[in-house]
């Protein structure tokens, strides 16, 4: 993929989303001895970066979306983002979620006006239901990470960084299916090749790291991690290739490192991040980001965490 789809995405989103803040972190800059910035996707509508690809996908196929509606398969941030995009654009949205999804997430999605369709409790069930509904309804299917529109929508974050920082920088972003980091790497590296891009996954779901080692996408099977936004068990075909070609490395963080990062962001930075949104800071604090003098940007990809989970993570050890 080149820059053209990302520039188009930026034009499409310009009247709906405003660039998210890039905030200099005083405590992390002091701790790391180099300037650290936080890109706050927590400040997007619905609290995560996913509104970028959701809006871009719907807008790229607006006529069909108006006629037949949109369809997505997600029980997390993408569900809310698609529901939000549909509401903003006046579209009908159907979201397929597993029957065991948390009532909290179902309610948040329905509150935005989308219809939730519950299916069985495996990814296979979910995709089967989704593809069946697509055939039956003709709705525009919005892919969570592996379509060109999705990667391009994600890439608008990279264009914002180029506007917000004048020189070369190292950007650190979470990796699940790989859409976000593929978009960012494409936007940033093709515009400013001196920039470096590093991905971060939980050790508990090293799907992209293992795929890079193997030289092809591998499926690591069902995963369980506190970073519940980072559970895609295999990269996409497109995202795998982009990450292989444009991302410097994908590093892994432990559950404890993730929890520490959520705590540090709350107590020292006064920012609420979801665990999946904090893995970049986790890697940085754990000394896993390649050293250098470039400014570091940690993408805080989302802040959607169930209140009880946050309280549990933040409760100081007795």
């Amino acid at each position: 993929m080149n820059l053209e789809p990302i520039r188009k995405a930026r034009d499409r989103l310009a009247s709906i989303l405003t660039p998210t803040p890039l905030m200099r972190s005083v405590p992390l800059t002091r701790a790391m001895g180099r300037t650290v910035w936080l890109k706050l996707e927590t400040q997007q509508p619905t609290g995560s970066f996913k509104v970028r690809p959701a809006l871009n996908g719907a807008l790229a196929h607006l006529e069909q979306s108006r006629r037949a509606g949109v369809l997505a398969s997600s029980s997390g941030n993408f569900a809310q983002a698609v529901a939000y995009a549909a509401r903003e654009l006046g579209l009908d949205a159907q979201i397929v979620m597993m029957g065991n999804s948390s009532p909290y997430k179902i309610a948040e999605t329905e509150a935005l006006g989308a219809k939730v369709v519950l299916c069985g409790n495996t990814f296979e069930d979910r995709w089967e239901t989704t593809y069946r509904l697509q055939r039956e309804t003709g709705r525009v299917l919005l892919h969570p990470y592996d379509s060109e529109e999705t990667i391009a929508g994600d890439g608008t974050l990279g264009l914002e960084l180029l506007d917000q920082l004048p020189g070369d920088f190292t950007v650190v972003a979470p990796v699940s299916g790989g859409g976000l980091i593929s978009g960012i790497a494409t936007a940033v590296r093709l515009n400013r090749p001196g920039c470096r891009v590093v991905g971060v996954q939980p050790e508990a779901n090293a799907s992209m790291a293992r795929s890079l080692e193997a030289g092809h996408p591998v499926n690591v099977g069902p995963v369980r991690t506190v970073a519940d936004a980072l559970i895609a068990s295999t990269p996409g075909k497109h995202t795998f290739e982009i990450v292989r070609d444009r991302v410097e490395q994908v590093v892994l963080v432990t559950e404890e490192e993730i929890t520490t990062a959520v705590r540090e962001l709350a107590w020292k930075q006064k920012i609420i991040a979801e665990p999946g949104g904090a893995v970049g800071v986790a890697a940085l604090l754990a000394g896993k980001i390649p050293s250098g003098s470039q400014d570091v940007v940690c993408v805080i990809s989302g802040g959607n965490i169930q209140p009880s989970t946050l309280l549990q993570l933040l409760t100081p050890p007795q």
Copy 2:
């Protein structure tokens, strides 16, 4: 006071502090039907706006500060800010705190390298000890709200807002002794007279509101509020006059409205504010800010809240 001391303060602070982010609030903008911005003083070193006046006061008297050190009287955000300023400037700092101050706040201040002097448990004890130490040591006394340097340091926040927003706006800021709002009102109203400035106090400490009614500073006696940064029981002489002349009104919020604002900022905005920092949002959500079409800026003056207190405030009602 005119703009000159504020411009000087800006020049003094330029190499040490960076402007804090002004963030468009998606949920508040939607809820209020007008554009709402948050000025995030939570992102300052030490987590509150108080580093502005602390640094300005020390820098304005740098020779004497180097020779004899600085001195302040506070058990809250100003204590940490003065300790930080002294560390940054290589000065010796002494902070007078009441004996019953929370061990958490004492520890945070000592961790920044300041010497904490404990005194009796009343404001009278604290000021008596402070003035005695000033006489004995010749240290530069940094006032928490009523000196020209302090008000000018606070006013740098107003100059930043003028840089960050092109048109007229309404700024809503917390009021305790009145230093912050005096500085902001001076900077904003003298530069852009179409702007409006509104102060907010807890009902439990209506010291400025009552003083405005009386036409002179009154002392409301000891107060108790969840907004533990807003407990000055009387305005300063200077701040009273500036607020009377340049602030449109001072509105009052209940304890419950403050708590609701802390919760909304956490769950919808993913920002941790201390209760005193959230009173502007509390007033806005309670419909107490004069209506109009101007953009509204809520100054989130700080984020320093004891972890156990935050967890208690955030715990959802059962």
